[in-house]
Symmetry: C3
Subunit: 342 residues, 3 copies
Amino acid sequence: MGAVSLADVIAALGGDLHGASETQITRIGPLEGADAGTLSFLSNPRYQAQLAGSTAACVIVAPAFAEAAAARGAAIVTPDPYLYFARLTQWWAARVRPRPVAGIHPSAVIDPSAVIGADVSIGALAVIEAGVNIGDGAQIGPHCVVERNARIGAGSRLSARVTLGFDCQIGERCIVHAGVVIGADGFGFAPNQGQWEKIEQLGAVRIGNDVEIGANTCIDRGALEDTVLEDGVKLDNLIQIGHNVHVGAHTAMAGCAGVAGSARIGAHCTVGGGAIVLGHLSLVDHVHVSAATVVSRSIKQPGQYSGVFPFDDNASWEKNAATLRQLHTLRERLRALEKRGA
Amino acid sequence: MGAVSLADVIAALGGDLHGASETQITRIGPLEGADAGTLSFLSNPRYQAQLAGSTAACVIVAPAFAEAAAARGAAIVTPDPYLYFARLTQWWAARVRPRPVAGIHPSAVIDPSAVIGADVSIGALAVIEAGVNIGDGAQIGPHCVVERNARIGAGSRLSARVTLGFDCQIGERCIVHAGVVIGADGFGFAPNQGQWEKIEQLGAVRIGNDVEIGANTCIDRGALEDTVLEDGVKLDNLIQIGHNVHVGAHTAMAGCAGVAGSARIGAHCTVGGGAIVLGHLSLVDHVHVSAATVVSRSIKQPGQYSGVFPFDDNASWEKNAATLRQLHTLRERLRALEKRGA
Amino acid sequence: MGAVSLADVIAALGGDLHGASETQITRIGPLEGADAGTLSFLSNPRYQAQLAGSTAACVIVAPAFAEAAAARGAAIVTPDPYLYFARLTQWWAARVRPRPVAGIHPSAVIDPSAVIGADVSIGALAVIEAGVNIGDGAQIGPHCVVERNARIGAGSRLSARVTLGFDCQIGERCIVHAGVVIGADGFGFAPNQGQWEKIEQLGAVRIGNDVEIGANTCIDRGALEDTVLEDGVKLDNLIQIGHNVHVGAHTAMAGCAGVAGSARIGAHCTVGGGAIVLGHLSLVDHVHVSAATVVSRSIKQPGQYSGVFPFDDNASWEKNAATLRQLHTLRERLRALEKRGA
C-alpha cells in the first residue's frame, strides 16, 4: 500500500483542501498517536483539544474548525467530517485490499442448474445447490453453503462459511460476515401431553438491499410467512432474529441483541448490544433501545428507551438488590406513614 | 407444490370436516390475510374476532368454535387445533420439500472405519472421521464435521456446517441446525500465580432422542462426566450450554439463553430468551424462567420465575435507576420515620 | 485407555504419595460416585464431608487433609490440589487422545505462497490462502479458513471450522474452538441522511500467546488500529469482542459476554457470563464483573462489581418491578414526610 497524496484524496472524495496538495499520506488514524504520514479527522467536538497539538499530516474537519486545523498543518474542510472519513475508508480499502479475481474456484461444488451472473467469484469449497441464482459481481467466500433456490443479488459479498438456506434471498450490495446462518428453522412447537410437536417452518427469509449482517448472527425462516429485513438494515455479530420478525429499513442493532418471533421493528430504529425484544411486539419508527434493555411491550412513540439495573460495587449492589425484593412492601409502609401523618 | 383437497388433509390427519371435501388448498396461513386457497386455524381465542370475517378456504377450530367457523365456510373440527396445525405443517413440508436422495456425495471425506447405516445421506464436503457411527436414514448436511468415534442415531438430521466432537453422541430423530458446535471444551481452568492452567475436558456430550438444537448453539463437553440433554429437549439459536450441565427431558429454551457449568435443569422446564442460569444450581421439573432473567440460586418449587428491570422512557429510567442505587438508604430512612412515629 | 499406576502419576506430576504406588487408576472423577479405579481430588473444603466415605482409589489433597484422606485409602498430598488436578487432566488427555498425525490432508486447499512450519497438521478441506504463515507444530482443524497473510504461532491448535481473517495473527500455544470468527468487520457506520455509510475496518486482530477462545466466539478487526488480546486471555463460547477492544493479559470471560467497541479491559480481570461492557470504557486490572452485569462507565478501582435484578417468583417480581417504575416518586414522598416530621 504505497502512499497517496492529498491531491489524490481530494480528487476522489472532494472537500476543501488547506495546505500542500502533494503531502504524502501513508495511513488513516485517530488524532491521538498520529504521525507525519497520518490523515486524521475531528468529528466529535469532544476531541477538539487534541487538534492543536496533533502532528497529523492533515486533519478532516468541519468549517467551524477549519482555522484551528490549518494553523497546525494541512486540513480538509467538509460539512460532515465523519461521513467524509467513512468514504475515505472505503476508498482506501478499495486501493489496498485486492478484490478476489472473478471466477469459480475449481474445488467449489456447484449444481449445474445454478445461474451464476457475470464477474462472480466463488471461493474454495463453497457449495451452491440446485436452482440457486447469483447476481452479477457477487462474491461468495470459501466454505459458504447456498442451499437450493436461494437468491443472492448483484454485488453482494458473503464472507467465508455463510449458510443461506433454501428459498431465502438476499438483495444487492449486501455484506454477510463469516458464520452467519440465514434460514434455519424458527423455534416453533405445539405442546402435546408434556412433549413438543414440531411446527415445520414453511416460510423463508427475505433480505433487502445494502444490508450488512455480522459474524455468527442467525436469522430464522418464518413459520408461514417470511422473515423480512428491509433495505439498509445493519446487524452486528451474534444477533438472533426469530421467525416472522420484520425489521424496517435502515434499522441498526448492536452485538448479542435478540428479537423474538413475530416482533415488528420499525425503520430507522437502533437496538443496543445485548438488548432483547420480546415476541409479537411492535416498535414504531425511530425507536432507540439502550443496550441490555428488555422490551416487553410495544412502543408507540419514537424516543429512547432503557431498562438496566445500574451496576455498583458488589456490596452496595447486594444491599440494594435485597431491598428491591421488598420494594412493594416499602411502598405500603410509606403509604401507611403518609396516612398516619394526614 | 400443487394444491391438495381437504379430503387429502382429512385422510392424512383426521379431524371432523364441515364443508366440501373437494375444496382445494394451496397454502397454510394465518386467519389475517387468508385467501380462498388458504387453510387457516384458530388456536388462541384472542383471535376469535378474526374468524367471522376470514375468507380462508377452511379453518381448523376446536369444537366450541365449530359453528362460527362453519358459518363462514369449511371447517375442520379437532380437540386441539394448534397440535393439528403442527402436524399439518409436518405433512405439508414432507410433500413440498424434497428429501435429499440417500447417498454419499463424492466430495465428502469419509474415513473407511466409519459405519454408515442404510439410506443415509451425506452432503458435499462433509468430513466423517474414524470410528464414527451413523444410524439408518440419518442426513448429514454439507460441510458437517463429525469427529472420531461420534455417534448419530437413526433418522437424525444435521444441517450444513454442524460440528459433532469426538466421542459425543446424538440420539434418534434429532434435528441440528447450521453452525452448531457440540463437544467443544468446557471452560475450565485452575488459577496458578495469576495465570490460568487448562483443565482438559475429559467428558463428552450425550444427547437423547427427538432433540432439536438451533443454529450456532454450543454444547460443551463435560470436564469429567458427560454433559447431558435428555429426550425431547428443544434449544433455540445461539444458546450456550456449559460443561457438565444436565437438561431434563422435554425442556425448551429460547434464543440467547445461557446455562453455566454443572447446572442441573429439570424436565418440562422452559427458559426464556436471553435468560441465564448460573453454575452448580438445580432447578426442579416444571420451572419456567422468564426471558432475560438471571437465575442465581437453585429453584425447588415449580412455577414461573422472573427478574428483569422494567424498561421505560430513558429519562424515567434514569431517575429510577439513580434512586435504586440508594434504595437501601431509603429503607433506613423509612425505618427511622416509622420509629419516630411509633 | 489402559489403566495407569499411582507410581506413573507421581513420576509425571510429583506430589507426596501416601499408599500403594502400584494401585491402578482407570479414570479421574469427582469424590461423589468414585469407584475403586478412580483418582479423585478435594480442592474445595466445602466437599470435605465427602472425603471420609469416598471409595476412590486415591484422593489428591492439601496437607491439611492428608491424614483424613489416607485414613480411607491412598492419597496424593500437594500444596494446590486443584492445580495438580489440572495438570493431571493434561497428562491424562495426552495419553488417551491421539494427536493428529502431522501432515496436510490431501483435500486441503493451500496456496503455494503459504509458509507451513515443521510438524504442522492441516485437516481435511481446510483453506489456507496466500501469504499465510503457520508456525511449527500447529494444528489446523478440518474446514478452517485462514485468510491471506494471517499468522498462526507455533503449537497453536484450531478446531474445525475456525475463520482467521486476513492480516490477523494468533500467538503460540493458543487453542481456538470450532466456529470462531476472528477478524470480521467491526460494526462501524457513519449516519448519512437516515442511512448508514460503511466505515471500512482497516485494522486487524492481534492475539498473544496461550490464549483460548471458545466455540462460535467473534473477535472483530479494528477500525483503524488493531483489536488486541494479550497473552493468556481465556474466552468462553459465544462471546462478542467489538472492534478496537483491548483485553489485558490473563483476563477471563465466561460465555455470552459482550464487549463493545474500543473498550479497554485490564489484566487479570474476570467477566461473568452474559455480562456486557459498553464501548469506549476502561477497566483497570483486577476488576471482576459479575454475571449478567452491564458495565456502563469506567471502573478505576479493582474489586467485584455487580448489577442484576434479583429474580423472584413471578408475582412478587411483578409487584416489585411495578413499584420500581415509581421509585423516584417514592423518594420524593419519603422526603416530604421527613420534612414534615422535622
